[in-house]
Symmetry: C2
Subunit: 371 residues, 2 copies
């Protein structure tokens, strides 16, 4: 019996929509999780994030364990209280950032050792320590197992060894997590772009038994087409009655294609990172607000949006804020992008419910190409 029931209300092809019922409220699926890296969805108040339609956000174990420190967050009442987000939080294991952000890291069977990118201090992250940080200290609702994610392209032997280590770490994570009613543990499928490895990874995770299953090791440089090829088979390898979470994805077109292939959850820094750099995501693709063509464009990014940042401010004003390097530009465009991503997820849920996902997907891809 999984911690959080997934109640699927409609399917359309491989796609599904419904709710994941957590102890901190329902997550409408397919769901996009804004990334709250270091205890903040960058540049936004939690009220702005909530008003954009997000049911759940993601926290980064790596960043939080280094600063302010997991024990400190625990003493301050846990991550929800610390950052004032009362909805569900999913935390990653820290492994991906250890391997991508630190100059020196060493993966051994027992744990990964690394130097902090902030002050060079030495740290150890084991599957058990990652569970302790996420589940006990931060108080995360959805806890991810520690895994090893290989870069792309990877030799098959390298992809196999990382997949096998991830499977063993998954079993250790499960043992450390134990049985909990109010928190869930997700396993992570690896195997790069090798179908046999993806199948073996899924089989071993299912044998261990998780509350949900993530598809890891994608969005690491393989590109949209190669990712879609893996998504043609990977989600179906994972249990249909459990949430499937595609980690670190992605662009709006990636989200639509992954949903069509049976994925339920996503996270990505793209909307907030783009927003801080002047890029707005729209139904017609991304636009750079710094472009001179917006200097006297009096229209808002989306007059039909409920989000003030999308509806009430002109592109000319946003252009001016970015040209003047004003913080408000970063705030408004992060807010707009988060709201645009949430609106896309809402439209996907409606399309699945109404059995018109295929038409939605075709139209969406055509409009994004126009942008």
């Amino acid at each position: 019996m999984a911690a959080f029931p997934l109640k699927i209300s409609a399917t359309d092809g491989a796609a599904r929509t419904g709710v994941l019922v957590t102890s901190r409220g329902e997550i409408r699926t397919p769901a996009f999780m804004p990334v709250g890296t270091a205890g903040t969805v960058k540049a936004l108040t939690v009220d702005q994030v909530k008003s954009s339609g997000a049911d759940i956000i993601l926290g980064n174990t790596y960043h939080l364990m280094l600063r302010p420190g997991a024990e400190r967050v625990a003493r301050l009442g846990g991550l929800h209280k610390f950052m004032r987000w009362d909805g569900p939080i999913l935390t990653d294991s820290g492994g991906f950032q250890v391997m991508s952000l630190t100059k020196i890291s060493k993966v051994k069977e027992d744990a990964v050792t690394f130097q902090s990118h902030i002050d060079g201090s030495r740290h150890v992250l084991s599957p058990e320590r990652s569970i302790e940080i996420q589940a006990d200290l931060l108080g995360s609702d959805i806890v991810m197992q520690l895994d090893e994610c290989v870069s792309w392209p990877a030799e098959e032997a390298r992809a196999r060894s990382a997949m096998e280590l991830s499977a063993r770490w998954g079993a250790r994570s499960k043992a450390a997590f134990g049985t909990r009613d109010a928190q869930a543990l997700f396993g992570i499928q690896q195997g790069s772009t090798f179908r046999d490895l993806r199948q073996e990874s899924a089989d071993r995770l299912i044998e261990t038994g998780f509350d949900g299953y993530a598809i890891g090791g994608l969005a690491v440089g393989e590109g949209h087409e190669a990712m879609c090829e893996v998504l043609d088979y990977a989600p179906a390898m994972l249990p249909a009655d459990r949430p499937r979470y595609l980690m670190g994805v992605g662009k709006p077109v990636d989200l639509v294609e992954a949903v069509a292939r049976g994925v339920d959850m996503f996270d990505c820094v793209l909307p907030t990172r783009s927003g801080r750099h002047g890029q707005a995501w729209t139904l017609d693709g991304p636009v750079n607000l710094k472009n001179a063509r917006f200097a006297e464009d009096d229209s808002p990014l989306d007059p039909a949006s409920d989000c003030p940042a999308s509806r009430d401010y002109s592109k000319a004003y946003l252009h001016h804020l970015f040209k003047s390097e004003e913080i408000l530009g970063q705030v408004l465009l992060s807010w707009h992008n988060i709201a645009m991503f949430q609106s896309l997820m809402s439209n996907l849920r409606s399309a699945i419910t109404e059995g018109r996902l295929e038409a939605f997907r075709r139209d969406f891809a055509a409009r994004q190409r126009l942008g």
Copy 2:
């Protein structure tokens, strides 16, 4: 007949409280105007500024004429529409920034010429052009005359020549402004710390006749005591039935002392600038949130405040945001400081109405010293 009536509802010693009735709504006085330098109160949405209790904001002619350009703002419907602030806006003349921000500027009888600090381009600002930018292009509600502000300390001869030029520019500004019902023009008293010059300046401004009178040339390095000495006599030189505006001031103790001496309006970048650098203004003085003593301080800056930034976030969280250089820290602390300044003005208005300003002032000074 002045454009905007000042309705004084109570006095307490030299202090007064009431409302300045503008065509865009009432300004409760004494009033603190957050500074919206380049079309944005830095880091804050207009809704956050409004919710803090601000009735009016200030816009900088210098910044806006350079970027996005006054004619561009006009084509986009004026400053109110451009930045989405529907309350009154006071704009400065641009003179102070020209003389303080630009490397090369030349003051002549006709106008000041200067090079942009952004791209080195050459510009001319005359009293007439400043009126045109403020009143016609930006669409400001309260327009300031161009003046010359001398640095401190100043020789008396230098202070006199600047005061006299300011008086002549004031008369030219009035002629260019003409008679308007829905906009007001304020003159600016100069004279540094010389009482005779202040009197002569006031006399000449009153002869020209303005809708309101500013006290300029203070908060330029002379310090709190010297400023208070000028404020012991300068406000009384200006008409009692017109608003008195102390430009560029200041710290909370400055505001309290100036209100007690009969000043009605203020502007200062202090709350937003402090906020962006981790300094919070409180009833007990300024505190630096980066200080390690706040790392595990679970209390908010002001549990009794209506402002979410003051009431809902712990000092430990704000400390973390600043240590991590997160934009949200700058947003929340700017918001808190603006709200704290507005709360101070509200408390001053109540103290005047209830005839207990002297006690308020004594208590406030004692608490600020404690901080």
